[in-house]
């Protein structure tokens, strides 16, 4: 009989017979790992992805429930909005064909405009009691749920495909980016909470700067949800503009800047764009950076419009960015970012003093989602 307990009293301790068995087991495990190592690895990776799929499903359901709850509370619909909400969560957009790139930007701009209008109308239908600002917040909230739903479906797709085909490489590519996916999903959950309550998010840093500049001034509404004001800084006429708040909105700053340039017959000394920008790991949140060019994200149509008009009128475009991570950009605004807005105002003043002369006109565009930020 093989002694299970060794002289030391420990189970599986060193004893002659057991040593032989352990050696045999080691050889056997080596041979098994040599031939079936990849299969074992696939099983382990599938187990990890399975856990993430379950967590994502829970997060997707939570954001959807939050959307439903907010819709019912704010919009007071007469019928259950669940079927319409489900339809909106699955809505998609087909980008224009790029084989002939001429006029591509305007085609995309048109598609985006139609999509925005339809989405807003859909929200208004299921939330008839909501005011304009609440409709914007609801729109952003449903967009966050939509993004979460898409993430969940894509991860589930690769998980099931990998499971069905037992393909190491299909599972590997989804398993490798799992930490980034989870980070984004967690940020989207935080964003959904922020939109449901109308809290400012990190992306609103640019809008906050413009709001500080236009505070107490007379505002006028420009086309497509943009507000502008006029103020004097060191003898220069400054026109700050931002998306109309406090509802969640990014507006169409490209169209607004073109309009202001047209109104002033091209006599604009410079355009300063302020936006939140993604920091690199190790960079400090809320740090500022100055540069040249149109600081605006999104699908690129607004940047194109600004660049085109700036080139046509030979207007220099300067950018001031506030650094933050992707997670900080869509989660409720951090104190560092909120305080950085003050510093940006003084940077803008310095830039205006350095690069323009008295009597000049300057546009300051605060880019970003203006949820929770008035004007």
């Amino acid at each position: 009989m093989i002694p299970l307990f060794s002289a030391t009293g420990l189970p599986f301790g060193p004893s002659g017979d057991l040593n032989t068995i352990i050696s045999l087991l080691m050889y056997l495990s080596f041979i098994i790992l040599m031939f079936f190592g990849q299969k074992v690895q696939v099983r382990l990776m599938l187990l990890e992805v399975d856990g993430v799929v379950k967590r994502l499903e829970y997060m997707r359901n939570e954001t959807k429930l939050l959307s439903l709850k907010t819709l019912k509370e704010v919009g007071k619909p007469k019928e259950d909005p669940t079927p319409e909400l489900n339809m909106m969560l699955e809505q998609f957009l087909i980008s224009p064909e790029g084989m002939d790139p001429a006029g591509l930007v305007w085609k995309l701009d048109h598609i985006l405009n139609v999509r925005d209008m339809k989405f807003k109308d859909d929200v208004k239908k299921i939330a008839p009691e909501a005011d304009e600002s609440q409709v914007n917040n609801l729109e952003n909230l449903i967009e966050a749920s939509q993004a979460m739903n898409t993430i969940y479906r894509i991860v589930r797709h690769f998980y099931l495909l990998g499971k069905r085909t037992s393909s190491f490489y299909i599972i590997l590519q989804i398993q490798m980016i799992l930490p980034l996916i989870m980070q984004e999903a967690e940020a989207l959950m935080a964003a959904a909470r922020a939109f449901s309550q109308g809290q400012p998010i990190g992306d609103g840093a640019g809008a906050l700067v413009a709001a500080r500049l236009m505070r107490g001034m007379e505002k006028r509404k420009l086309d497509r949800d943009i507000v502008a004001a006029e103020t004097m800084i060191e003898g220069r006429r400054v026109i700050p503009l931002k998306a109309e708040g406090p509802g969640g909105n990014v507006g169409k700053p490209g169209d607004a800047i073109r309009l202001i340039i047209d109104e002033n017959k091209g006599k604009i000394a410079m355009v300063v764009m302020v936006d939140a920008a993604l920091k690199l790991e190790g960079d400090k949140t809320g740090d500022l950076s100055e540069g040249i060019g149109a600081a605006i994200g999104g699908p690129g149509t607004e940047r194109f419009k600004i660049e085109e008009e700036a080139v046509k009128q030979k207007i220099p475009v300067y950018a001031i960015i506030i650094k933050e991570s992707i997670m900080e950009a869509i989660a409720p605004m951090k104190k560092e970012i909120s305080e950085a807005a003050e510093l940006v105002v003084s940077r803008i003043k310095k830039l205006i003093l350095d690069r323009t002369k008295e009597g000049d006109t300057v546009i300051v565009a605060g880019i970003g989602n203006t949820v929770g930020i008035g004007q």
């Binding site: 002289a7 030391t8 060193p14 967590r55 429930l65 309550q197 400012p200 505070r215 008035g374």
Partner: protein, 131 residues
């Protein structure tokens, strides 16, 4: 629609198992040291090897669990509203209430009775441990 939160039982089981492995490994280490004192070097090397692997695995598992748990409070962080008086700079910091937004008027100043406005809304950072 399924809204059940992911079960935490697996997490507790994992913690219990990791602690059990850690305890057993430490005990093995102690036994190994006793074996060395008795001059049984073969047993000493064997137990040292097994116990160190056990300790490493258990510590690594517990560290990973700790990291997962530390993410949870970050998700539900508190959001604060700062109301400021333009005249006397009196500041009131309170919890965010639905309907608050930056530059909204926020009642009268307790010191000078001037209208206050919301100057900041931000997410409170979780308190870091003082080392």
């Amino acid at each position: 629609m399924q809204t059940r939160a992911p079960s935490t039982m697996y997490l507790y089981l994992l913690i219990a198992f990791s602690i059990a492995v850690l305890g057993y490994s430490v005990w093995m280490l102690y036994t190994g040291i006793l074996s060395m004192k008795e001059g049984n070097m073969e047993s000493f090397y064997y137990t040292m090897f097994i116990s160190l692997i056990g300790i490493m695995l258990a510590v690594s598992s517990l560290t990973q669990i700790r990291r997962r748990i530390s993410i949870l409070p970050r998700i539900g962080a508190k959001v604060l509203t700062v109301a400021l008086c333009d005249k006397c700079n009196f500041k009131v910091i309170r919890n965010f209430a639905t309907g608050d937004y930056v530059f909204k008027e926020s009642g009268k100043c307790q010191q000078c009775n001037e209208t206050m406005h919301i100057s900041q809304i931000y997410q409170e950072e979780p308190k870091k441990k003082q080392d």
